[in-house]
Symmetry: C2
Subunit: 455 residues, 2 copies
Amino acid sequence: MKNAVSNQPSHQVVIVGGGFGGLYAAKSLSSNNIQVTLIDKRNFHLFQPLLYQVATGTLSPADVSSPLRSVLSKRKNTKVLLGHVKNIDPEAQLVFMDGEEISYDTLIVATGAKHSYFGKDDWEKTAPGLKTVEDAIEMRRRIIMAFEAAEKETDLEKRRAWLTFVVVGGGPTGVELAGAITELAYHTMKEDFRNIDTSQTQVLLLEGLDRILPPFAPELSKEAEASLKRLGVTIQTNTLVTNIEDGIVTVKQDSQETKIAAKTVLWAAGVKASSLGKAIAECTNTECDRAGRVIVEPDLSVKGYPNIFVIGDLAHFAHQNGKPLPGVAPVAMQQGQYVASVIKQRMNGKTLPQFSYADRGSLAVIGQNAAVVDLGFIKFTGFVAWLFWLLVHIYFLIEFDNKLLVMLQWGWHYFTRSRRARLITGEELARTSEVDEKSNFYTPVNGESIAKLSS
Amino acid sequence: MKNAVSNQPSHQVVIVGGGFGGLYAAKSLSSNNIQVTLIDKRNFHLFQPLLYQVATGTLSPADVSSPLRSVLSKRKNTKVLLGHVKNIDPEAQLVFMDGEEISYDTLIVATGAKHSYFGKDDWEKTAPGLKTVEDAIEMRRRIIMAFEAAEKETDLEKRRAWLTFVVVGGGPTGVELAGAITELAYHTMKEDFRNIDTSQTQVLLLEGLDRILPPFAPELSKEAEASLKRLGVTIQTNTLVTNIEDGIVTVKQDSQETKIAAKTVLWAAGVKASSLGKAIAECTNTECDRAGRVIVEPDLSVKGYPNIFVIGDLAHFAHQNGKPLPGVAPVAMQQGQYVASVIKQRMNGKTLPQFSYADRGSLAVIGQNAAVVDLGFIKFTGFVAWLFWLLVHIYFLIEFDNKLLVMLQWGWHYFTRSRRARLITGEELARTSEVDEKSNFYTPVNGESIAKLSS
């Protein structure tokens, strides 16, 4: 019997991307005669919904990351490869990874999205986005460093610019960042400085549409605005950013332009699909939407290639109500599980009805004790919503140790308002304990040195 | 009364360095008429004895770091400055920090040590040392990446070189690193790979003297050797490293040279004092020892300058038994407290007897369940020593949240042998979720790409 099974060639599934979509597909593909290869360019799955907590000093990168190999170590039919896929050959059924060719019977592409500056790519230097662990550490460095620079600055106007934080984009990430920075300034660090009063910090949240959290119901947007204002965030809706340069953000509101002096600008405004989407669309002759997402068939496959699936943030799926599904974790997770089922059913000669997203609701956290939850049949805000947000996020953190420890850290943070991970680290700082060659101890932010400003 | 106190100019103490010496001095200098300024080029105190756990994926940087501002936030007489001190003027009583001048009545210099390659500075690229958080993350990246490279490598000899780890230096750090790498290979990751068997990993610990842990009693060195061998570490004593180049370590044993093919080489062999020591010796006309440490007076002051103290790893204090005190945390802590007392006593017109180090013993951890402890009056090894080591380190972790969480993580790690922080991160990896320009997803280790090796 055993021999018979092993003689039958097993079905090779290659998954590109270990985010929510790819990982849930891999976890759902346990079967004796399926061999799974998961390729990612990082060795860990990142729990992106909590990345803003790394950027604002509450959690460490390892708290929101799980090594892919350990998540999948018990699945003996699954192999993890660390590598970068740039293209595929849909006819030869090959994936090209760092000069190697990997063949597949079925391919699942789930490489997600990165932030987009709507063509103004030079804004990235001044206004970093939040997609990777490195992004989060860079944001953390800039936020903490801004307070240090303000503490040294004697010119009051310049000090104000260091204590002004602009968050571009009023979606969940922007709301979460803005809330967390005010907490950091008004509570966590309020005793820490001698020259500045951190309660003078200004946090501006800019949104192009007429309300923050546009995917939510209007009454929840209103509640969220009220909560953020109570925390101390200044919200400007109907506001477009027209220029970002070092120290100055130019915005347009009712066709009037204003300049905001702010040393720290954080980007939470737009995303575009990973470039593998475009490569796949080209070689399969499919279409992409304007954000670079591959327009998929009702079963999430690529038109004309039933053995290539595109899921998660990389897919444009509009078969439900005409609008593409949002780029959120639950969509990716459900699509990963659906595609795994399709593959298993096909091997049994069966088919599945088209993919259908079960929207269980949206939630966003505003700050300690406040969140907004929209479950469709019920909407709620405030402390209960915050507790609900907390439980949902803990539940979905994949590895048990992460869940336990993050929960304890949150509990600790909740009662003490401390933020343990307020470290300024990075390559810009010395590897060894001294830098003899450099005149300054850190790379100047945006080309302007703090020493120069304060002298 | 209040007015009388504030009219009296307060005594200005400047401390350079927020390590164990500087921080304990600052914490002991609470007094109404002392103003303390603590200068460090990092914004956090680093608990260096546990840094090897960051390098081997058990703890996160924030677990072994405490923001200096929060440690000192309750001390209203203490100011923290983020800056780099390169020199002082002992006559004008000035410290030069990034172009600024800061005046002092009393100066405490505690800038510690960095690793030393005995003049072979080009070995650093190939064999990184472990002094900073960035060093630890780089070591972690190299260790985890070596297993990934081995998994991809098909040439058996090259694969063996990826699975060979050489630790240079048999002091506590070397012993701790070697023990932790074997645990990582033989336990934590044993289910994680499909092509390699991580139990084939070779960990070599090289020591120039005739036994490892030379500061300990010989019987404890023997016990430690036995424990390490049980873990799977190969120990070579009386072994000098004569050359390190990419992939090959040349060693000399009994005047015979051997070449070891190893892709990962970690340096735990020597330290030299921070360069501020030399600068101070020059301008005060004092002497340094060969390691660059300032030779201090019996009260830890610099000869001829009773208001300048040098403490911790930067100081050469040989007034106790002719041998300079070792560069360990307890020495620095006691010296910081002693100098704070001297300053306070002097302000009352009193003097203190010379500094005397109370050696409460040495301890080193070998691996899970094993450590060696030498308290002078009692020596013990094994599980009890490991528990003792654990309690001592938790006790000294400065902030309470760190203590609690690190303890829980250790507890978790102890029962599961999991290591949560096995992330490959760093600037070398993409900030955004894609690298379109680069052909490979990470910067090749030591100029040689894994893709090249495996193709």
